[in-house]
Symmetry: C2
Subunit: 340 residues, 2 copies
């Protein structure tokens, strides 16, 4: 009998099955030279004792590791923390092991990931690139099933999942127009690259504005270094310094909006009376700012599910065509755009 | 010659060394029946080609996995996201693989972790328990080197690292006293358990207050369900409803303070004029609230380094006495307690 307070070992299984430890090991490793009868006795004993083979054993039995990696720029960003949260949850539900890596948004680290995680035994990667351009991602592409989250690669060969950034921006802008705003500023990163979520959001803003006969003023478009509170504050201070007559600030991420809100308050600019403010991601903190911020929420659970589905489908069939999938979004209207 | 754009395989190594692929595999797995001369040729080829064996191979060669786990209640909490950030960084610096798990603060999930991660091949765990009582943690304790972060186990046998919660609370309270506050409320979780960071912080508040001849009013001590913005808002609404004459609210975590700030604003209570407010963790968002919040910052990098050191030391010597280590903290004074 195995002491209930102790985890059963291979030796316990061998004793219970009446076989040698190396026979148990052979069964665990699916070696062909074990008789069916012994295999059955070992399997029964494993079940009876609740023996849990180690990760290494399971990987060997499966013929490959089922370790997925999630590579995000910075886990301290509320968006990426939320993404990690739902991916951890979804991986656990499917008995996959997940490890989380940070790139720091750096090109070298992103290259390592684009080139594949094989040396670490990872067979599938959920990757959120920010620094590498689509062309370089394509050039570096490895055989490790990799799904890109967020970064748009026109015609690219990666599986890719995101919200419809352009469409969500159309809706956000139409909301601002319905509140009488006519002259929005826009802040986001990598606008010069003409790809990526922020660029798609700017496209959506333009599309909605042009329906009213105007375009976004080029002077009111801010390319930021990252989607941080600091950069949002910098843009807001610049708007105040210029005495810009814009009546709304559309931020491609909530952290930019949080930073902008703080800087506008310090400068005595009222939100939303003087400048309406909104962001993307529906970060938890935006419900608690003064005033609470309007934001576009992503269907994060759907994103995690579809991302893992895409990895597993590509593991099963490496030749399947690249998929570009969309998940839902929802405009959460709050006081910062004059709700109510 | 191996194509520089492709990762070398076992076959490439075999070709370069003039041996069979199975000989390479035998060397990687440290099988004894390889001649020293062949072993040397394979090792040379591995080095020359820059071949990186898979995680599984490396684990087998090392005789055990060097995979550490970080188990936190919820990665979307800024404190735990920051902790994950510094632990990822520190693990990478030491070429350790890290996987991050969430317990959801649930007892069942915490039990799984306390009982050890062996079934997943993890040989060291950095664990932030919130639900399990110290006695149960001791009862479940496994052979997997585990360091507790944050939870205080008096006389416990786990390695344990935290800031000096009691001391930091004395400093925070003395700061409030120096600003003329005399009647603080306190909010934190698991105060009834008489252990854990929040309880230690309450002890520190009491100690500093008693030096002025008074104690904390028992009616102003709030046990909260978790350290969330929602719970902070609830406590603040309760204070307002009671027309409490408290002049400060000391929150055991920044998220409580963020929630309280929002609810006080909605109730027309001015911070800091009516109620001074402070928290712990120095979450990034508290620099951007209106007003910015005073908070106690932890030396997170020191925490990550000491935690991994403790795991490795225990792997090397399982019989070493349990260590209870402290890392530094710093009171970051901002407007919410009347800075300036």
């Amino acid at each position: 009998m195995v002491d209930p307070g102790r985890r059963p070992t291979v030796k316990d299984v061998a004793r219970a099955a009446g076989v040698s430890a190396s026979t148990v090991s052979n069964v665990l490793h699916d070696h062909p030279y074990v008789t069916e009868e012994k295999r059955q006795r070992v399997t029964d004993a494993i079940e009876r004792l609740g023996y849990a083979p180690s990760l290494v054993s399971r990987q060997l039995r499966a013929g490959r590791s089922q370790v997925l990696a999630l590579a995000v720029p910075d886990i301290t960003s509320p968006y990426f923390a939320h993404l990690a949260h739902v991916v951890i949850d979804e991986a656990r539900r499917r008995s996959l092991t997940l490890f989380i890596d940070e790139t720091g948004g750096g090109a070298a680290q992103e290259r390592t990931i684009a080139e594949g995680y094989l040396s670490r035994g990872v067979t599938g990667v959920l990757f959120c690139p920010v620094e590498l351009a689509p062309a370089e991602l394509e050039r570096l592409k490895s055989d490790v099933p990799t799904v890109l989250l967020g970064e748009y690669v026109p015609g690219g060969s990666f599986d890719h999942i995101a919200i419809n950034s352009r469409r969500s921006a159309v809706e956000a802008t139409e909301h601002l127009l319905s509140r009488g705003r006519r002259r929005p500023a826009f802040a986001g990163m990598r606008l010069d690259r003409q790809a990526g979520p922020a660029y798609e959001r700017l496209r959506g803003v333009r599309e909605a504005l042009r329906a009213t006969g105007v375009d976004v003023d080029a002077d009111l478009v801010f390319d930021v270094a990252d989607h941080s509170r600091e950069e949002g504050a910098r843009v807001a201070r610049e708007l105040v310094r210029r005495r810009s007559d814009c009546d709304a600030l559309i931020c491609a991420a909530d952290l930019l909006a949080v930073g902008a809100l703080s800087a506008l308050r310090e400068a005595g600019v009222a939100v939303p009376a003087d400048i309406a403010l909104l962001g993307w991601d529906d970060a938890p903190e935006v419900r608690y700012t003064a005033p609470p911020l309007t934001s576009i929420a992503h269907d994060m659970t759907g994103l995690a599910q579809q991302a893992i589905d895409a990895i597993l489908a590509r593991q099963a069939d490496p030749t399947r065509p690249a998929e570009h999938l969309l998940v839902g979004h929802r405009l959460m209207v709050r006081e910062s755009t004059g709700a109510g």
